[in-house]
């Protein structure tokens, strides 16, 4: 921060905070109270479930609010400064344009941090005031063990265990990936048989329903010489089981089977099978662990592979991780807002920042879009055809665009540790720092773009 141009940076930050903090913090308080009221007012079977639900809603609302505040403030504060000619009075001082931009982005981020702080304090205060303080200490999942087994048909159609790859995800959805459905040799069609036998063991009752879905993701033949292209395009839920405690005996045996068709021209490739388990009612967070000695990302035995277990709480680290994660997301969005406002009208910029933030938060939406566009450009039928025509140019262009967007945007979802915190799982601050460091190139790129656009721009004096 050397040179005259940067000296006023903190002054601009303080001004933005001073102008906007009160209103947004009030909004944060109202939203947190609303989320707490809805959560606490929804009867739950699990003891302390209301408090848990209030926390789930409250944390979700806080994340939304932080991103919203960062986007709106980043765009509107700079946009208003430019539109009301205030920028002329500021830039007539020894203040650099880059400092003006950075000041607005940092100011927006500071307000977002204050909003998160106020909303979090309000949420905890509401839980304590409503007599749920003790329940906060019991926010641990009850599921102890969740083994599952997926069988696929071999070339002779006999069921054999599919080797799973431990690309584990924690959170409200537990997801297993399987690869290795053997293709029918020399044919363009592959038949498969899938069987799943999930079993659940729960202690002290289970908080709500369990939903199990088995999906197949097929990979049509890739273009010649480019094995990484032309990926998956279809998803079939073959089986879905749902059990309510009291109605269903646990452990619950289950089975599903299905068969597939053609996989496209050329020899069929790996067919991926996804087994998804979630608890939609209670939004219980899973902690997934591969069997002892099984490293994540490698294939291993297909039995008893995942344990969902009760976890220990570490509120301090969890809260730090939550706060830092939300601020990381806020920083990206504030920067997006300021970049936009340096180029276009403030509301356009705010809207664009929000859309990009949503895409960055849920990149799977973009990827799904890319896949569906490819499917749309190829054929309308969900089943792949043996002689699939080449995708239309516009489908290819759209797909490339979507892939490009997904590739450029940082995955803000990786900064959300609320699932881990609710599960009471300790979050390593080193991991938090790593995720934040991964944002730096993106933030740097935005800063350079914004500066490049704004440095040449005329600022009207009157």
């Amino acid at each position: 921060m050397r040179g005259a141009g940067w000296r006023g940076l903190t002054v601009v930050v303080r001004l933005v905070v001073r102008e906007h903090a009160a209103g947004y913090c009030m909004l944060g308080m109202v939203v947190a109270l609303g989320a707490a009221a809805v959560g606490l007012g929804t009867p739950q079977l699990e003891p302390g479930g209301e408090a848990r639900l209030a926390l789930v809603y409250g944390l979700g609302a806080t994340e939304l609010l932080v991103v919203l505040a960062a986007a709106l403030l980043g765009a509107l504060s700079l946009g208003t400064t430019l539109r009301r000619r205030r920028a002329a009075a500021l830039l007539a001082r020894p203040l650099g344009r880059a400092a003006l931009l950075a000041g607005h982005a940092l100011g927006a981020l500071c307000v977002a941090a204050l909003v998160a702080l106020v909303a979090g304090a309000t949420l905890l205060g509401a839980l304590l005031a409503s007599g749920h303080g003790r329940a906060l200490g019991a926010l641990v999942p009850r599921v102890e063990h969740l083994p599952a087994e997926v069988l696929v048909g071999d070339r002779e159609g006999r069921p054999v265990p599919a080797p799973p790859a431990f690309a584990l995800q924690s959170g409200e959805n537990a997801l297993w990936r399987f690869r290795g459905i053997p293709p029918a040799a020399g044919r363009t069609a592959a038949a498969w048989l899938l069987q799943v036998a999930p079993a659940y063991a729960a202690r002290e009752g289970f908080p709500g329903a369990v939903e199990v879905a088995l999906a197949v993701r097929m990979r049509p033949a890739p273009p010649p010489g480019d094995p990484d292209r032309g990926w998956v395009h279809s998803r079939h839920v073959l089986w879905c089981g749902r059990g309510q405690p009291g109605l269903l005996a646990l452990p619950m045996p289950g089975a599903a089977s299905g068969h597939g068709g053609e996989t496209g021209a050329g020899p069929p490739h790996d067919i991926e099978v996804l087994l998804e388990v979630r608890t939609p009612d209670s939004m219980l967070a899973f902690e997934l662990q591969p069997p002892a000695g099984q490293p994540v990302g490698e294939q291993g035995p297909n039995s008893g592979m995942v344990t969902v277990r009760g976890a220990e709480r570490s509120p301090a680290a969890g809260l730090v991780a939550l706060g830092v994660g939300r601020l990381g997301a806020g920083a990206v969005v504030a920067a997006l807002g300021v970049l936009g406002a340096a180029v276009v009208r403030e509301w356009t910029a705010a809207l664009a920042a929000l859309v990009l933030a949503a895409l960055a938060r849920f990149p799977e939406l973009v990827r799904t879009f890319a896949l569906s566009v490819q499917a749309l450009g190829t054929h309308a039928h969900p089943e792949p055809l043996a002689s699939a025509p080449a995708p239309a140019w516009w489908a290819v262009a759209l797909q490339r665009l979507a892939e490009g967007v997904a590739g450029v945007l940082p995955e803000l979802g990786r900064l959300d540790w609320s699932g881990a915190v609710l599960a009471g799982r300790p979050v390593a601050l080193a991991a938090v720092a790593r995720e934040l460091a991964a944002l730096l190139p993106f933030l740097g790129g935005i800063a350079v773009l914004a500066w490049g656009a704004f440095i040449r721009r005329d600022v009207r004096a009157a």
């Binding site: 005259a4 001004l15 001082r93 020894p94 203040l95 004096a461 009157a462």
Partner: protein, 302 residues
């Protein structure tokens, strides 16, 4: 800062703005403006609306990129933030942060100028008193009247005691008392050696304040020079006489005719409305008081 350079040098300044969907429409705001303001001068920038005054100010402040030509403040390019350290600017509108009080606002602009905390507090207090805002020092700028905002604007331009002041319509919205104080402040600054460039439509006020004027019309300099030379009109003189009755006046007319002159106008002396206003206020003792604040909650677009 180049010690030998003029305070302001503008050479062949062109500025055009593009508009329209394909940015094909071109509006030429300045078409080769050149002038020079020496250190310590007070110069008026005048001209009809759309003449290019505000655009010239924008280029002087580094807010607008000249399409062609050169602008220098004390020999330096104004687009460099360090150059603007020598600058105090009063914008035509008053876009000051309404959430700040007058005192906080002055400290804010002082901080932007890089003044140490103690110094900016001292200067803020002195300027608030000097411009009649001491009683309103702790009121938010959002509830200030237009005239008070102009006073505040002048104060923020002066907070860093800059050697160059750019004042855009400084008297706009000021009452006669404020206008008189503004004139006094400019005179003080001139005595201190400050260079002042002020754009205004108040030609009468400029006449008494300025050493020179630059008249802009349709983006060009129509007239430029020192006021005494520009306003000199041959050998005519203006006399103001009091206490003459009709016979004495007739005798004076005769005497003038006898000496080859011609009396062109005889009017009874009338007090000007501005003088009457100021005298009435002075009689009421309001000259030393702070301006009257509007009712609380009356927000202005600060």
């Amino acid at each position: 800062m180049d010690e030998g350079a003029a305070a302001i040098e503008v050479e062949g300044l062109h500025k055009h703005f593009r508009s329209g969907l394909l940015r094909r429409r071109v509006h030429r705001a300045l078409a080769g403006v050149s002038f020079r303001v020496e250190r310590g001068q007070v110069v008026g920038l005048i001209g009809p609306n759309g003449g290019g005054k505000t655009t010239t100010f924008g280029c002087l402040l580094g807010l607008l990129r000249p399409s062609a030509g050169r602008v220098r403040l004390f020999g330096e390019c104004p687009r460099r933030p360090a150059t603007r350290r020598c600058l105090g600017y009063l914008p035509e509108t008053s876009p000051f942060p309404g959430v700040l009080t007058a005192r906080q606002g002055l400290e804010f602009y002082g901080a932007l100028a890089g003044l140490p905390r103690r110094e900016r507090r001292r200067r803020a207090a002195a300027l608030l008193a000097r411009l009649g805002l001491a009683a309103a020092a702790d009121r938010r700028l959002a509830v200030f009247s237009k005239g008070m905002l102009r006073r505040f604007g002048l104060a923020q331009a002066l907070i860093a005691a800059p050697p160059l002041l750019l004042l855009d319509e400084p008297a706009s919205g000021l009452d006669p008392l404020g206008a008189r104080e503004l004139a006094a402040v400019i005179a003080e600054e001139r005595a201190r050696g400050t260079t002042v460039l002020l754009a205004s439509h108040e030609l009468a006020a400029l006449e008494s304040l300025c050493d020179a004027i630059v008249l802009l019309h349709q983006g060009r300099v129509l007239l430029e020079g020192a006021l005494p030379q520009l306003l000199a009109s041959g050998s005519g003189v203006r006399l103001e006489v009091e206490g003459l009755d009709a016979p004495a006046l007739a005798a004076l007319r005769q005497w003038i005719g006898a000496h080859g002159g011609r009396l062109t106008a005889v009017e009874p002396r009338r007090e000007r409305l501005g003088e009457l206003f100021l005298r009435a206020l002075e009689r009421a003792g309001a000259g030393a008081q702070a301006p009257v604040l509007p009712a609380r909650g009356t927000e202005h677009g600060a």
